[in-house]
């Protein structure tokens, strides 16, 4: 589908200057579709349908906005999907919520959103589809919430309209859970606001008090300010401050220690002691420091919470892999669309070419080629005929199949695989958070110091002793420590995102930088080291037949056909009059050429051409033989019964694979290849990349991949790099899982890190970036500890005062924030050296050319 689409968008680009452009997507319009009169022209029926909907509803403003916006093409695939499964009662029960006023609400995830004009258009849905009351789009999540009247409009109609506008909808699962998280986020924001308001106002009151210390203050005013600050501080402790008290208490009850224990001890001891002193009317109070601490620490927590939303997103995998609808064959032979959820064992289902199989089953009628690469990683399709097993999630390529359902949903092979992925993700040994490790150490140190202070001062005055201990606990509150890790991680994740590396959680960076002497990178072959799709690598014989081959092959969905039809060659103006596809063999067509002559074309395997009585010359046989030898698939082309050309197809290595492996090895990583593809092909790839045969394993199924990664990670850091569903379980089980661009949705969900730029070189940036981020974090921790030591010394000796605490604490936090900004560069140094080496390489090449 994507290959076809990209071929479609690239092919007519040459005559783009002179050809009229499509009124909807602004791609050039093919000759045959150009209108005779002046009027809007369209490149396809999909665009025409979308345009007519928008135009008839008087929403032409869409195109005006789009013109103002970055000009981006929006080709609409002419989908024939009816979405009738959206009206199924099972579907309604699962995804829709009924409002008390009789309307129904549903959340749909949309594909194809790209600019502000999309927001404008989708939120006009009530004007396009009568019966829709409201449509609200969340652009970042690509999710639209629709309220509609079920009696006036069916959900399938809404879905069809969205689809024909170019935004294919999928139901969004677990809306209820997301709602709970949304409430949590709001509550945290409110707490942050309360803490901020309290801290700010207390600070104002304390400025007056500090000024009074030097200039003198009316005692009535002083009492007023102290009481006012006490009230605000009590509010701050009783509401936002409870976050720390609750978490610290929970840790103590579980007989462990976290950073919240020393924090809440300092906050509440200082707070209660301050209240007593306010009532007494004299003595040092630290309300300004306490409320500011709560505010700063909550900022850290808020950032952390938002960050982890991304990471803890439940593995919502089934959605992306199995279709939402199935075409069931009724007893009387009729076909009906039902939702996949309501499929039962024993049902008979039809899958058309290009459809994904919705459930596990046994083929009853038909013979077709199926693409299992999603599930097994095999690069070439296999044949399925009556009696053979089909697994949910595989793609049917060439012809219609009917099969009996043997297992559905979670019981399918892919369902079981997903379960292992979820388990692997849950079982991954979470390393103890850095701050928690430090927090435990700090707690003992602080408690020891506080006890020593009390004991040391007790014989002078018990009141003074408690005063000093309270001051110590407040002044040494690990505020910088609480801010350091989340801030540095957020800065690093932001910096990485700008370089096309999406990191789900900070702990992945921590594990990546863990200084283990035994480190292994496991690379998947198909789609990771290679491009993951068949491409014409070599052409032999007549060049002029290329455009005809491309035209014929553009009619088929077979991977070989897609490879041949995306060859770079001028488009042919011939017309296909008849076409037959022989599964597993080849394709035959009759084409009418521009000069009025017609010719027959046969494209296929050696056996196919021989079966058509075509003689294959020796040189072509030799070409086929050598192609097979080097792991490629040969295709022969005959025109009018004469073999005239041959092509070798293969899955080429990415340009930077060899270089990236070399550099990984140089920086101390053990590099291995683990693939589901044929062992022979894997071994050949390994040789081409300069890896030993011991480091490459082929023919590994997903379960074996998972076991392999588990075994290895027992005593070393394992980084798994992959792209497919077959890698997903291993990605989740590895210390760090990295999904590469162009991979399956499931691999993105299971991985900790996703690369959005082509190729493997971003991995090197990532390694450098994670190391520099951890250095930054260590720096911030050292700095905040340095401030804490000063504050502790001062308070034990009795030199601390509220004013001094009010200076030291923000100074420490500010330093931490400034240091954290360093992490935004995310390994810029690594990039510079990369650039430098490229410049070096360029110079060397120039020298070579000159000499």
């Amino acid at each position: 589908m994507t290959a076809l689409a990209s071929q479609f968008t690239h092919a007519p680009a040459r005559d783009a200057e002179c050809a009229p452009v499509c009124a909807h997507c602004r791609l050039p319009v093919p000759k045959a579709l150009r209108p005779a009169t002046d009027g809007p022209a369209f490149c396809c029926t999909g665009c025409e349908a979308a345009y007519s909907i928008i135009h008839s509803c008087g929403l032409d403003g869409f195109y005006a906005i789009q013109n103002r916006d970055s000009a981006q093409s929006r080709a609409v695939g002419a989908s024939t999907h009816r979405f009738s499964e959206f009206d199924d009662p099972a579907f309604t029960r699962l995804y829709c919520t009924q409002a008390p006023d009789g309307t129904r609400r549903v959340e749909l995830l949309l594909g194809g959103l790209h600019c502000a004009a999309c927001v404008w258009l989708i939120e006009r849905l009530p004007r396009i589809v009568p019966g829709v009351i409201k449509a609200t789009l969340d652009f970042r999540r690509a999710c639209v919430e629709i309220s509609y009247i079920p009696d006036a409009v069916s959900l399938s109609e809404i879905a069809r309209t969205l689809d024909s506008l170019g935004y294919p909808p999928h139901p969004a699962r677990r809306a209820a859970r997301r709602h709970i998280r949304q409430l949590e986020d709001r509550a945290m924001l409110v707490k942050l606001a309360v803490a901020g308001a309290c801290a700010g106002n207390i600070m104002l009151l304390f400025i007056a008090l500090y000024a009074g210390m030097f200039e003198g203050i009316d005692s009535g005013h002083e009492q007023l300010f102290r009481w006012a600050a006490m009230l605000l501080n009590t509010l701050c402790l009783a509401w936002p401050g409870m976050v720390f008290a609750r978490s610290g208490w929970a840790a103590l009850r579980a007989r462990t220690i976290n950073i919240d224990v020393p924090i809440s001890l300092g906050l509440y001891l200082g707070g209660i002691w301050g209240i007593l002193k306010t009532i007494a009317g004299h003595g040092d109070i630290y309300f300004d420091s306490i409320s500011a601490l709560i505010f700063f620490l909550l900022i850290g927590r808020y950032i952390q919470q938002r960050q982890s939303r991304f990471a803890t997103d439940a593995l919502e995998l089934l959605f992306s892999m199995t279709p939402t609808s199935a075409r069931r064959v009724r007893e009387n032979g009729d076909l009906e669309d039902i939702s996949t959820e309501s499929l039962a064992i024993g049902d008979i289902v039809e899958v058309r070419p290009g459809d994904v199989v919705p459930a596990d089953g046994t083929v009853l009628h038909g013979e077709s080629r199926i693409d299992q690469s999603m599930l097994t990683g095999e690069s070439l399709p296999v044949t399925a005929s009556a009696g053979e097993k089909l697994a949910a999630g595989v793609l049917n390529i060439s012809s219609v199949l009917r099969f009996r359902v043997d297992a559905t949903g979670e019981a399918t092979r892919i369902g079981r695989l997903l379960r292992t992925i979820e388990n692997a993700a849950a079982q991954r040994a979470r390393i103890v958070q850095l701050t928690d490790r430090w927090g435990a150490w700090l707690l003992y140190a602080l408690l020891g110091l506080a006890t020593a202070t009390v004991l040391g001062w007790w014989h002078i005055s018990p009141l003074l002793a408690i005063d000093r201990a309270a001051a110590l606990l407040i002044a040494t509150c690990p505020c910088g420590l609480g801010l350091a890790t989340p801030l540095a991680m957020t800065a690093a994740i932001g910096g990485a995102a700008r370089k096309g590396i999406l990191i789900k959680g900070g702990d992945a960076l921590e594990r990546l930088a863990a200084n283990s002497p035994r480190r292994t990178v496991i690379l998947d072959k198909t789609g990771t080291l290679t491009l993951g799709r068949l491409t014409v690598l070599d052409w032999f014989g007549d060049e002029s037949v290329r455009s005809l081959v491309r035209l014929v092959e553009s009619k088929s969905l077979h991977p070989v056909a897609i490879a041949l039809s995306s060859m770079p060659t001028p488009p042919s103006d011939a017309k296909i009059s008849s076409l037959t596809e022989v599964p597993g063999m080849g394709i035959e067509a009759c084409a009418a050429l521009a000069e009025g002559r017609s010719c027959g074309v046969s494209i296929g395997t050696e056996r196919f051409l021989q079966s058509r009585g075509i003689d294959i010359p020796h040189s072509f046989r030799q070409f086929c033989h050598s192609a097979l030898q080097s792991g490629q698939s040969p295709v022969l082309i005959a025109r009018d019964g004469i073999c005239c050309a041959a092509a070798a197809l293969g899955d080429p290595l990415r340009k930077d694979s060899a270089d990236a492996i070399q550099r990984l090895q140089n920086s101390g990583w053990h590099v291995r290849i683990l693939s589901g593809d044929h062992p022979e092909i894997v071994a050949r790839t390994a040789r081409a990349l300069g890896l030993g045969s011991a480091d490459a394993r082929g023919g590994v199924n997903p379960e074996e991949k998972l076991a392999f990664v588990r075994d290895l990670s027992a005593d070393r850091t394992v980084v798994m790099v992959g792209d497919g569903v077959n890698d997903a379980a291993a990605l989740a089980a590895a210390s760090v899982g990295i999904a590469v661009r162009g991979g399956a949705e499931a691999s993105f969900q299971a991985a900790d890190i996703t690369l959005t730029h082509e190729g493997l070189s971003p991995i090197l940036d990532l390694m450098g970036g994670s190391a520099s981020t951890m250095r930054t974090i260590h720096w911030t921790i050292a700095t905040s500890l340095f401030y804490n030591v000063i504050a502790a010394t001062l308070s034990i000796l009795g030199y601390i005062s509220p004013l001094l605490a009010a200076i030291i604490m923000p100074a420490s936090s500010l330093t931490v924030v400034l240091i954290c900004l360093r992490a935004r560069r995310f390994g810029a140094r690594a990039e510079q050296t990369h650039l430098a080496s490229e410049i070096e390489f360029g110079r060397a090449r120039q020298q070579a050319v000159i000499s």
Partner: protein, 46 residues
């Protein structure tokens, strides 16, 4: 300066009002999605 005995509580009332307004805005979900409204601003309804 005894005006402070009125001004400080008054300032609290004002700050409290602002806080209540913020809490209400947050509870209505006005801070849930900070990206889409920026894109929505280009709308000009006929």
């Amino acid at each position: 300066m005894s005006v402070l005995y009125i001004m400080v509580p008054l300032a609290f009332v004002l700050a409290g009002g602002a806080l209540i307004a913020f809490v209400r805005a947050a509870k209505q979900g006005q801070y849930d999605d900070l990206d889409t409204p920026a894109l929505r601003a280009i709308e000009d309804d006929q």
